[in-house]
Each structure stands twice: as C-alpha cells, then as structure tokens.
C-alpha cells in the first residue's frame, strides 16, 4: 500500500497498536503527522465555531459579531471542525478540490467518523452544502458531499444553490453581506447537520442554516473538516 499523498510505501508492520485495526492505512506516518488536529494543538476553543482562543473568553470575536448582527438569533447553533488550515492542508485541499483527486477523501475518513460519533448523534440529518451546477461541472464532484458520504453513504441534498462567484474570490465584507444563494428542495427534519469542507467566516453555513430554520428545522449545527 502506498501513501495517498506522497506515494511512499506505507510501513505496514503489525504491532500491538495496529493488530486490531482493520482498515487499511492510507497515509504514511510522515504525512499523517503533518495534519494538525485542532484538538491536539489547543485546549481552548470558541464554543461556537472552534476557533482557538484565549482561556478567559468563551466565544470568539467573530461569533460575538454574528450574534450582534443577527440580534441574538444565530441560525447556526454550533460548528465543529477537525483540522487546522495549515499549509500542508492547503496543498492537500488544492489537490483534492481543484485537481480533482477524489480518493484523498479517505485520508480523513476515520477522523470524520469518530468526530461525528463523538459530537453528534444519529438523530441529525446530514445536509452537505451544495455547489452550483456550473461549479459542479467544473469540479466533477462536490467536496462537501464526499465528506458527508464518509459518515452516511446515502446522503442526499436538501438544498440547492444558484450560481454565484466563488467564495474564495470575495472579500470578507462581500461574503458576510451577500444574498442567500440557497433554495430549499424538500421539507427538512428537526435536527440538521450541515457538512462542508471549510469554515472561514461562517457566512455560507449561516445562509443555509437560516433557510432551514425558516422552513421549520429546530436545531442546525455544522461539521466542517477545517477551521481556517
């Protein structure tokens, strides 16, 4: 077996820690160690969005600003992220999203699964953030859907997206005040878990959450692979 990222042969020695491991390893030790898990690097994070912050405060400035702006009615109840957006992660994401290496999603499989089991329960319906038709054609797959399918292979879309500029091409201000690009496709269940690859400002997730809350969902949370 070769490492999915660096193609080096993975040292597959069976030892006491791996003897009960049934999943084939997909990463070598070096690549594995270059991902930074938020859990491992800081022991205090924003309760709402998981951004690492000082010990003395409970929520970060951005989340505080969101609450102010939305008058205390933040549609996104909480966000859980797994990895930090370090340069290695940026490179891997570029390979994954823009170079279309779909297989790379397996790299995060066990982390996504265990985080879901730890932080959420089965009553949540998974809702991956959709791409617009044009963007989907460009990329060939939806990265949020790929991540959601790690947890539940039967994940379907509840919402769809009208085409807008790529988020990464906008300024922070443009992103926060942009128009809600999502449309509802069905009737949502009461507990919704939004799935996406990145949490940057949280605008996209909140737009989707707002739509779902307005249509009758009670709790909307999100699981994102990376907190940038």
């Amino acid at each position: 077996m070769h490492c999915l990222i660096c193609y080096q042969e993975i040292d597959s020695e069976t030892t006491w820690t791996t003897i009960f491991e049934i999943n084939q390893r997909v990463l070598c030790d070096v690549c594995q160690s270059r991902f930074e898990r938020i859990e491992d690097m800081s022991n205090h994070c924003c309760e709402k969005c998981m951004r690492p912050i000082e010990q003395s405060i409970s929520i970060c400035g951005d989340c505080y600003a969101w609450q102010e702006r939305l008058g205390g009615k933040d549609p996104l109840h909480r966000n859980v992220s797994i990895f930090n957006y370090n340069s290695f992660m940026k490179d891997v994401m570029a390979l994954f999203k823009y170079r279309g290496d779909y297989e790379l999603v397996k790299v995060w499989e066990s982390d996504v699964k265990t985080t879901f089991q730890k932080c959420f329960s089965e009553k949540f319906t998974l809702v991956p953030i959709p791409l617009s038709k044009k963007r989907l054609e460009e990329r060939g797959f939806n990265q949020a859907e790929a991540i959601a399918k790690l947890i539940d292979p039967n994940t379907a879309f509840f919402i769809e997206r009208t085409h807008t500029e790529k988020q990464s091409k906008k300024t922070k201000r443009e992103r926060i005040f942009s128009k809600n690009p999502f449309k509802l496709k069905g009737i949502p269940s009461s507990h919704i878990l939004l799935i996406d690859d990145l949490y940057t400002t949280g605008t996209t997730l909140r737009q989707a959450a707002q739509l779902l809350i307005d249509s009758g969902a009670k709790v909307v949370q999100s699981l994102t692979l990376i907190r940038s």
Partner: protein, 721 residues
C-alpha cells in the same frame, strides 16, 4: 476433559469476529470464506483426546515404526502404529534394530499408560494422549523388521555424525552438543536441568528458535562473505540446509517454527512483488504445522514458542530503539509476561528473577556456547585430534564455571512466586489486560500501562486469595505408594500442616525423593502453598520421614513436630508426647501417644498419634502403631471417630477389633502401595473393617483421598472416581 467447551468458545469467537468486523467480512468475501473453511477444517482435524480405559492386552503382530527409534542406554524406544492405535514401545536389549518406517513383528503386552493419582501431579497418560498415543508397551520383544523410509537415512546419518563426535570428545562437551545441536538433552546433568527449569532458562537447553536463527545467520554470513557464491546462490543453499538442519536438530516444535519461518522469508525475498508481514508468515506457519499435526497444539514447547515469538514480533516498535541492555530487558519482560498464564498453569510458579538470569545466560549461550559447540563439531570432521582436544578442554574450562555459578545460587525461595493452578477466568482476564497493557505501552500511555501492570500482578493475588475465603477443612491423603503423606488445610487458609513425608524404599538410587518432588511438592504448589505452618513426623522410618529435609528446605515450616526419642539437630523441632495439644484457631490436634515409657518400643510404636478435632469432626492419625498402643489409646480415651487413618498401611498387627468397636469410625483410609511386597493391606484387616460396616478407602485403588468438612458436612473425593 473439557467436553464441548473449546467448540463453544470457538463458535462464540468466530461469531463475535464476524459481528465486530462486519464491514471487513462484506468487503473481503474470500477472507471470510477462508476463515469459515479453516474453522470447519479445525472441527474435522481436531485431535481426539480420549483415554483408553482398559489395557489393550497381549499382542503379537505387525507394527509400523513412525518415529526415529531412540536408544537410551540398553533401552530402545519408538512410537509404533498398530492397527488404528499409536503405541509407545519400549524394548530392552533388542536383537533387531528397527528404522523409521520399518514394518516390524512384535510380541508384547500393551497397556494404558500410568495416570496421575494425585492433584497437581504430572500425568503421563494425558501427556501421551496429547500426542495421540493411548497405549504403552514396556517390555516389547521385536521379532523381525523389514523396510525403512526415505527419512530414516537422514536419521541414520545423524546417528553416524553423533557417533563420530562422541568418539573424539569428552562426555561433558558431548552432552551439550547433543542437547544444543541435536535436540537430545538426556545426557545433561539432572541438577543443571532442574536449576535451569527453576530459573526459567529451559529454553536454552532445548533448540529454540533463537538457536536456529543464530545457526542460519552464521551460515548466511559464512556463505555470502567467505565464499564466491552470490547472495542469491547462498539463499538457495540455505533453503536446502534448513530442512536437513530441522531433521538433524530433532524436529522439535520451536525448530520447526523457526525453520519454516526462515524458508518463508527467503522464498518471499525472491518474489519482490508480494510483501507479507512477519505476523502473517508466523500465522501461516502456525496453521500449516497444525494442519499437518494437530496434536502439536498440546505441546508445551509449541505453545511457548509461538506465544513468545508472536508477542516479540508485535513488539517490534518497542524494541527498535534503546541500549542493548534496555532491549534485552524488554525482550525478557515481554516474553515472561506473555507466557505467565501458561507458566502458572503448567508449573504453578514463576521465578521473578528469571529476567536477570536470562540477561546473563541468553547472551552467554548465543554468543559463546553455541558458536563454540558448532566449531567443536566442525573441527571433529576437519581438524586434527589435537585441535579438537584443545577446543574441548577450553569449552569445559569456561562452561563448567558458568554452570557452577547457577548451581551455587541454588533455588532461593525469595525468587519463586507460587500461585497454584490458575482459574480459567483469571487466565482470560489476564490475557485481555496483557493486550491492553501492550497497547498502552506502545501508544505511549505509560501511566495507564503502569496502572494496568499493577492490575496484572494483582490478578494473581486474587487467585491466591480465593483460598482464604474457602471455609472448609481439607484433609488430603496423598497416594505416595507404600509410604505416607497427608496434607491438612485448615479453614480459610489459617494454617497448613503436613503429616509425614514418606518415600518408598527403593533399591535403585537416583530417585530418593520421588514422592516429594513428583507428588508432595506439586500438590502443595498447585494449591498455591509455598510455606507451611507445621510438619508433623509420626516417626522416623523412611516411608514416613524420607523427605523431611526436603520439605524443611522448600516449605520453611514454623514447627517441626515429632516424638522425643530421636536426637536430631533441628532448630524448630518441637518434641511432643501424650497429653500435649496444638490449637490452631478452632482446630485442635490432641496427642494421645507416645508417653515416656514408650522409648523402649520399636520405632513404629513410638509413632505420634493424634486426634484432629474441628467442630463435629474427629479424625485419628495413627502413624505405624500396633495393637498394643491402639488398645491403650482406645481404653484410655473415649473416642468417637468419623475417620480413622489405618495404622501401618493395613498390616495385620494393627487395627484390632477392639479399636474399631471402641472408636466407631465411619471411614477408614489406608495409605498403601499397589502390589507392595508386604502384602498390605492384610485381608484380615479388611475383613475386620468390613464386619464393622466401615467404608474402606485405599490410596492404591482410589488415588489420593480428600475429605472436605464444612458446615457440619463432610464430602469425600477420590482422585480415581
């Protein structure tokens, strides 16, 4: 035996695995099919471990020799296939020499092997049954033999090599060469074998996987560095050497394991594509060996060898870094931990300092002894006699000193930890804790590993502690042949007394303390007893006191109790006579004889006689007294007995009608040897007992006899049901 338990456990484990690894099973249907197939296969080829109930009887007919016949002095031994049975044949001074694969005509009486008759005792019958052999024949007459197998030529070749060596070197060196290169350790001194066993070094006396590794490593270095062969050619040559080496080394399980693994590794190194983990190779070798001979599973060396190898392979990460000393210590520790349950199960004890001894003797044997012996062996065939003699001399010089050291250290009791035969549940729990411990250690959770290791040690104290909540009084009359030894275990382990440690009187020396070593000590150890409160010696005849010194040395009794008419220099000796009493909690031992006037009597009539009283239970211990003393006691004390230990092995001079009428026992126990020369127990004694309606129990027929008294009820357990 275990009945359906192994099958049940097997099915349970298999279902559990399927459930836990559901996904794996679905994704790899072939793996699942393979697993199911091997499981079914294991049901079909599982060995049959039933015993033969009766002797086979007189047999004259054909037998096929299926082992390499061994010659031990004047005696020839081999395993023969007779009709559908495997039989272990012994033949004294045979006229014909059979080979492996010969068809012979034999004349012999074929009988069942000796079974154990005491708890904790080595069971020869089971030992043979575990190899699929149900019968033995001790005095076989071999009429004629013909034919031989292809393999027998290798065995003969091996024999010729051995004869060549034996003619040129000293007996001492040869014994070691024979053990370490040919896998036959019969020639080694008994005290060294015992000492090595005590210190957990036995693996060094047999050919272990380590030896095979060293041997093949040396071969490889010599071939690839010192000859003009390419690496590939050397590998091919080694592939040819390994099977020959396996045969020469006697094909014991560890040699088979290591040899087959080496073959696999070399063959795989030729195929660059496929990469198999060492654990896979070990598992494949494990399965192949078991499919060829499922009885291997019951061999101690097979179990130990695979357990240790598997554990060490899984510990590769832990053993990668560190100084030589640290790595050696870790190897010792891991090996000891993994075999601990097996060690307790088979030997009832472990040596807590074994790792230190291993630290000294493993390198000594690997670096010095083995290469030395190999070069002596080679020089016998290459160099002139003088070189051989010099090497021989040098080896003995060094080796004798190293062996003297271990013999001098002896068997100090602070190094031994006696736990007894462990409960199955405790062994399983230990296994789980061990896995968890190794996982935590490797993952770097050292604190957690520390806590688990304390639990792992504590578990064995639970095993030991189970005796302390057993509130019954137990009296066990051991079957020690024409001698006597009785163990009294007081309620809640508040005390342990041993009454007599007799040895059978033998005319061939070398087995002076057979009862002690083979029966009394194993019995006590299997019950987790390593110290006793008192040893009561009824009188000083060999059949009652033969191993007094041994029990004092090994079990450090607080009191040594005996009659006053023998001058002995023993520091803890307490001499006792009529009227004295020992109380231990609610248990009383009241001594009824001898009195001062008995000094003039013979040794038998000086015997200590006492009554053991607990609650409602009364048992009389009589030593070897005769009618005269019996009647004196019966008349002086109004006794109402539950159990009478019949005096003097059931001799007609004791156990008079008066005694029986006066004391009124329900049960009489006779400690007597099977077919002894004295004709004990006397038919008249048996008649007197029967006439009084007393139940007779005798060690020659019932094996050890154990009485358990708890809450006013006594239960009887005979070893041979």
């Amino acid at each position: 035996m275990l009945g359906y338990l192994p099958l049940g456990v097997g099915v349970l484990m298999f279902t559990l695995l399927c459930l836990v690894w559901k996904k794996k099973v679905i994704n790899n249907p072939y793996l699942f099919l393979m697993a199911s197939f091997s499981f079914l296969l294991s049901l079909i080829i599982s060995p049959n471990l039933d015993y033969a109930v009766e002797d086979y009887g007189y047999y004259e007919g054909a037998v096929k020799v299926i082992s390499d016949p061994e010659i031990d002095g004047e005696q020839l031994k081999f395993i023969g296939q007779m009709e559908r049975q495997k039989v272990y044949f012994y033949s004294n001074e045979p006229n014909v020499n059979p080979h492996h694969g010969s068809s012979c005509i034999v004349k012999s009486y074929i009988q069942t092997p000796n079974a154990a008759t005491n708890p904790g005792q080595f069971n020869y019958q089971q030992y043979l049954a575990n190899q699929g052999i149900l019968y033995v024949s001790f005095d076989t007459e071999i009429l004629k033999c013909q034919g031989r197998s292809f393999l027998s030529h290798f065995f003969e070749w091996r024999y010729v090599i051995q004869q060549n060596i034996i003619n040129q070197i000293s007996e001492q060196s040869y014994a070691w060469i024979n053990a370490l290169l040919f896998g036959q350790r019969e020639g080694l001194p008994n005290d060294i074998i015992k000492s090595f066993q005590y210190w957990g070094l036995s693996h060094l006396l047999a050919i272990s996987g380590l030896h095979v590794g060293i041997f093949l490593g040396l071969c490889y270095v010599v071939l690839s560095k010192w000859t003009r062969l390419t690496i590939e050619q050397s590998k091919w040559l080694i592939l040819v050497i390994i099977p020959i080496y396996i045969i020469i080394a006697g094909a014991q399980p560890p040699v088979l394991r290591a040899g087959l693994m080496a073959i696999f590794v070399i063959v795989l190194s030729f195929m660059k594509q496929s990469k198999l983990d060492v654990t896979d190779i070990l598992s494949i070798v494990f399965m192949v060996l078991l499919i060829v001979d499922p009885y291997l599973m019951y061999q101690l060396s097979f179990q130990f060898s695979f357990a240790v190898t598997f554990a060490l392979i899984l510990s590769r990460k832990l053993l990668k870094n560190g100084s030589w000393l640290m790595i050696s210590l870790k190897v010792s520790l891991i090996s000891q931990l993994v075999i601990l349950p097996l060690q307790f199960y088979y030997f009832y004890f472990t040596n807590v300092l074994s790792f230190a001894m291993n630290l000294i003797y493993v390198p000594y044997f690997s670096i010095l002894v083995l290469p030395f012996l190999l070069s002596i062996t080679l020089s016998v065939f290459i160099f002139p006699d003088k070189v051989v003699a010099f090497l021989d001399y040098a080896f003995i010089m060094i080796h004798e000193k190293m062996m003297k050291v271990i013999l001098l250290i002896g068997e100090p009791s602070f190094a031994q930890w006696v736990v007894g035969q462990p409960n199955l549940v405790i062994m399983v729990v230990y296994g789980i804790l061990f896995l968890w411990f190794m996982y935590s250690w490797e993952a770097g959770y050292l604190k957690r590993a520390g806590v688990i290791s304390i639990l792992m040690v504590g578990l064995w104290y639970i095993q030991l502690g189970s005796h302390y909540i057993d509130k019954s009084l137990k009296i066990t009359v051991l079957d020690v042949g024409q001698a006597e030894s009785i163990v009294i275990e007081l309620p809640n382990r508040s005390g342990i007394y041993v009454v007599d440690v007799g040895e059978e009187i033998r005319f061939n020396s070398g087995h002076e303390h057979k009862n002690f070593n083979d029966i009394i000590k194993p019995y006590l150890w299997s019950k987790g007893i390593s110290r006793i409160d008192g040893i009561i010696i009824s009188h000083y005849d060999t059949d009652h006191a033969g191993s007094l010194k041994q029990i004092i040395n090994h079990f450090q009794p607080k009191l040594i109790i005996s009659h006053p008419f023998q001058s002995l220099e023993l520091s803890k000796l307490v001499t006792i006579q009529e009227g004295m009493q020992i109380s231990h909690g609610d248990v009383q031992m009241k001594f009824l004889s001898p009195n001062f006037d008995d000094e003039n009597h013979d040794e038998n009539n000086r015997s200590l006689v006492f009554i053991l009283k607990y609650d409602d239970f009364d048992m009389l211990f009589t030593g070897d007294i005769t009618n005269e003393i019996e009647e004196r006691i019966a008349q002086k004390y109004r006794l109402d007995l539950d159990v009478l230990k019949v005096a003097h092995h059931g001799s007609n001079t004791s156990t008079s009608e008066t005694l029986l009428k006066e004391t009124n026992p329900h049960m009489a126990i006779i400690s007597v040897g099977d077919q002894n020369r004295y004709g004990h127990p006397d038919p008249e004694v048996l008649e007197r007992l029967t006439n009084e309606g007393i139940r007779i129990l005798r060690t020659d027929e019932d094996g050890s006899i154990s009485i358990k008294y708890v809450d006013g009820h006594s239960t009887l357990k005979r070893f041979n049901p």
